[in-house]
Amino acid sequence: MSAVNPSGWRPKQGAAAPGQPSETASGDRGLSLEEPLIFELAAPGDFGAKCGVDFDEPDTDPSPSLARFLRKAPPALPGLTEPETVRHYTRLSRQNYAIDLGPFPLGSCTMKHNPRLNEKMARLPGFADIHPLQPHATVRGAYEAMAQLADWLTRLTGMATVALTPKAGAHGELCGLLCIRAAQVAKGDARSVVLVPESAHGTNPATAAFAGYRVENIPATADGRVDLAALKARLGPDVAGVMITNPNTCGLFEREMKAISDAVHAAGGYVYCDGANFNAIVGKVRPGDLGIDAMHINLHKTFSTPHGGGGPGSGPVVLSAALAPFAPLPFVTRQADGSVRLIEEADAPADHPQTFGRMCAFHGQMGMYTRALTYILSHGADGLRQVAEDAVLNANYVLRSLDDVLDAPFAASGPCMHEALFSDAGLAEGFTTLDIAKGLIDEGFHPMTVYFPLVVHGAMLVEPTETESKAGLDRFIASMRSLAARAKTGDELLKSAPHFAPRRRLDETQAARRPVLAWRGDVAASD
């Protein structure tokens, strides 16, 4: 019998009122539904008893030449019929919070509404059911869609060209650094150090190290920005470039970005910009005007392709004229006659000879290009500018509606951009940012980004995005004010929050100390 909850747990929530039940026989409580693993749903010992797909019978036996390669038994994986499958995943889905359910104010993640037109367009058979290696003449519309996205991205950023293929933001960072490296090698000027501010996303130093660079930190000023003087002092012939996030992860625009770029260029380096926060400035500022040489654009942030519980992402990299010749393959380019070409290995020696190579199979995240292009066309130049303005307005509204009850370390430096940063200063002894976050879960909101950026103690980074209405923000602010008051007065119930979620706080220490990464119920039973 597949137990609903093999741990033996049964729901119990406070003392039952007289005459009211406190437990249920099923383990479920009304619409709060528990769900076993698929391995527990299938018939024990008979995983092949059910199947949710009907097939034609094969009309021939396997080729005799294959006999010695055949597996002795099918993989030990359970099959379920369609109704059981639909129910399993639908019940599981209800244990997830999502942007479709309410605000998801994760700083630096840009959880905005995912328009359903994007999903519909990406599923047109002419986009969804084409193969990347079809003859070029049979996929002209796909190349044109890629080129139109490329046109928008280069114009919105004021850059020379774009490498579309990187599969996510971190992959885009790698693409940018490899372009920088290739450009310097081509000049006979290979360098060894990349400078990264302390407030950077973890992917920045990880990427630089992966690309073979030594990473050095750039200090920040007291107002939360890059220390230009310290940066200038460190520049030299060993510095390949800098990786700067602008707007930065403190939610602030780097006012001296152009001066930073000029100094780096003067020292023979290049400027990589982490474009995770492009949503704050799309249509308002072109990174190309600030001297940026390379910047990835997370299509899953600014351009609304769905995050899907952790990907797939897409991280096209816009490049300056200096770095354009080194862009990876395949490379989409528009010809003088308006037609579009996909330059692959065959044509690269003649038409894109300095490319640093290929970063992945095929042509990148086409399914994300079509969604992003749909979003961009829906908004247009005017709508995208309004996106940035509303995103920044919403963040400042949150900042000024909470800075009297929560410490906002950079509030005095002026307006924030698209995210508002708070610290844990002033909370009661023993109360932390984590308690506020878990309290928000009970309030029906997804928590903000916590403990990032590292430069602020107990950071809480709130990015409401342009998706939230004023009424929605007012509800969020009311919950945050309530939580701030409870954390300052030492409400012990907050320390054990969440109380109303599908799970209470989970034991992460046990998970890491004795990792259980796969179900082995049948293995244990047969031992």
Partner: protein
């Protein structure tokens, strides 16, 4: 603008709360010379759903979609029937519009799916464990090579001749920047893979041997002798599976000595999508867990003792370790992993085996029929659902001619190996459960006409 909820009066009220006079006042930190006074020039304004639908549909209509013609392409991206319920379920907003499950109390749906997915992948591959997915097969393959370097403290990778050339190129690109050396040569048009050559290339500096199974020409490699030779020299065996349906029939690489198994999961649930987004699969021996890249989901309990799932062992990852992380990967392919997992749940192991037999049967039928076309020869001694034809002339031109007849007849090896003249007559042909006997007949007739 249908996606922007703030009204003009909301904006005024909010500016008043903030104490700013205008929206532009909020951008005061942007130097004036960098601030655009108006709209970015040369770009159109917002458009209705209907207008955007019309624009995108017109672009899509310029492509020949696989379902509309006899279709025989593979080479690392395969067309399979995806049950209708898969696409319905992945569009549940709670899956589609959720984030990486950093707050596990309200992300158990995604986390349990990842735990089930990891188990499915590990069992399919015959490995102890699997991670929560990578970008795609090619990047998973590179990550496996990098991981083998960390495990063995060596830096020379030996790649079999039959490894997908895009995977080889990805490895070569990355190796330039990490100092790894890569030993790899192009395949030859021979009925069996070159096992002796791979074994000969292994030396005491070799970190890993990378073998594709089945290989780029569709041939099935005997893994056991390579595993033995690699292990004897202290190297790891990495097996690459670009067509996971094959593992419904073929023995799992983990049961044949592979230390790391990576793959492209696109065949199940994801669809062709012109090459992406796809799904990197990554499984390995449990003793290497702390050297693995990517996210891992593990089982634990909550404060009430209730079973639950969390992302775990994150001290390997960039957001904790920064420049000392095992990989810079952050985003993975969560939604594609969900699609894969749902499709696998509908199939089960027995269903996957039936699906595999059907694929193989269609490929056998195609190979038998195409071998009757005058001048055409089937190269392979072994194949699963993909095989190489040797044509009497340049296959690239033949494929163009077939496309003019509305037959998408396969992938010419010249597309994958440009300028390699000895492969120019090779045509890679794939048949799956979606290939009908009528499709096969249509290709045979068109091929005969084009070659006549």
């Amino acid at each position: 603008m249908r996606y922007l909820p703030l009204t003009p009066s909301d904006r005024s009220a909010m500016l008043a709360t903030i104490g700013a006079g205008s929206l532009d006042d909020l951008f005061v930190d942007v130097p004036a010379e960098a601030r655009l006074a108006g709209l970015v020039p040369g770009l159109p304004l917002h458009a209705s759903e209907m207008a955007v639908d019309r624009h995108m549909s017109a672009l899509a209509a310029k492509n020949v979609d696989a379902g509309s013609v006899p279709f025989f392409l593979g080479a690392g991206a395969y067309r399979h029937h995806v049950p209708a319920s898969v696409d319905h379920l992945i569009q549940r907003g709670e899956f589609l519009t959720s984030y990486t499950p950093y707050q596990p109390e309200i992300a158990q749906g995604t986390l349990q799916v990842l735990f089930e997915f990891q188990t499915q992948v590990a069992r399919l591959f015959g490995t102890d464990i699997a991670n929560a997915s990578m970008y795609d097969g090619s990047t998973a393959c590179w990550e496996a090579v990098a991981m083998a370097g960390r495990v063995t403290k060596r830096s020379r990778a030996v790649l079999c001749r039959g490894l997908h050339p895009h995977y080889v190129a990805t490895i070569r690109t990355m190796a330039q920047f990490t100092g790894d050396t890569v030993d790899c040569r192009n395949p030859r048009l021979e009925p069996l893979p070159d096992i002796a050559g791979v074994i000969d290339a292994i030396d005491g500096e070799t970190s890993c041997v990378v073998v594709q199974y089945p290989d780029i020409l569709g041939r099935v490699t005997d893994l056991a002798p390579i595993a033995g030779a690699a292990h004897a020299m202290g190297a790891l065996l990495i097996v690459v599976v670009t067509e996971p349906v094959a593992l419904g029939m073929l023995e799992a690489p983990g049961n044949l000595g592979a230390d790391i198994v990576v793959g492209e999961g696109q065949s199940l649930g994801v669809g062709l999508q012109f090459g992406g987004p796809y799904l990197g699969l990554f499984g390995c021996n449990e003793k290497f867990v702390r050297q693995m890249p990517g996210r891992l989901c593990g089982e634990t309990v909550d404060a009430d003792g209730k079973r639950g799932f969390v992302l775990t062992l994150s001290t390997r990852e960039q957001h904790i370790r920064r420049e000392k992380a095992t990989s810079n990967i952050c985003t993975n392919s969560g939604l594609c992993a969900l699609a894969f997992s749902i499709h696998m749940t509908l199939l089960g192991g027995e269903g996957l085996a039936r699906l595999a037999r059907l694929n193989h049967a269609r490929a056998q039928a195609a190979a038998a029929r195409l071998a009757q076309v005058p001048g055409v020869r089937v190269l392979n001694e072994t194949f699963f659902n993909e095989f190489t034809l040797v044509l009497p002339r340049d296959a690239g031109a033949v494929v163009e001619k077939l496309a003019e007849r509305y037959v998408l007849g396969g992938v010419p090896l010249a597309r994958l190996y440009p300028g390699v003249s000895e492969l120019g007559t090779g045509l890679l042909v794939t048949a799956t459960e979606t290939t009908s006997l009528e499709d096969i007949e249509a290709l045979a007739i068109a091929l005969q006409e084009v070659l006549a």
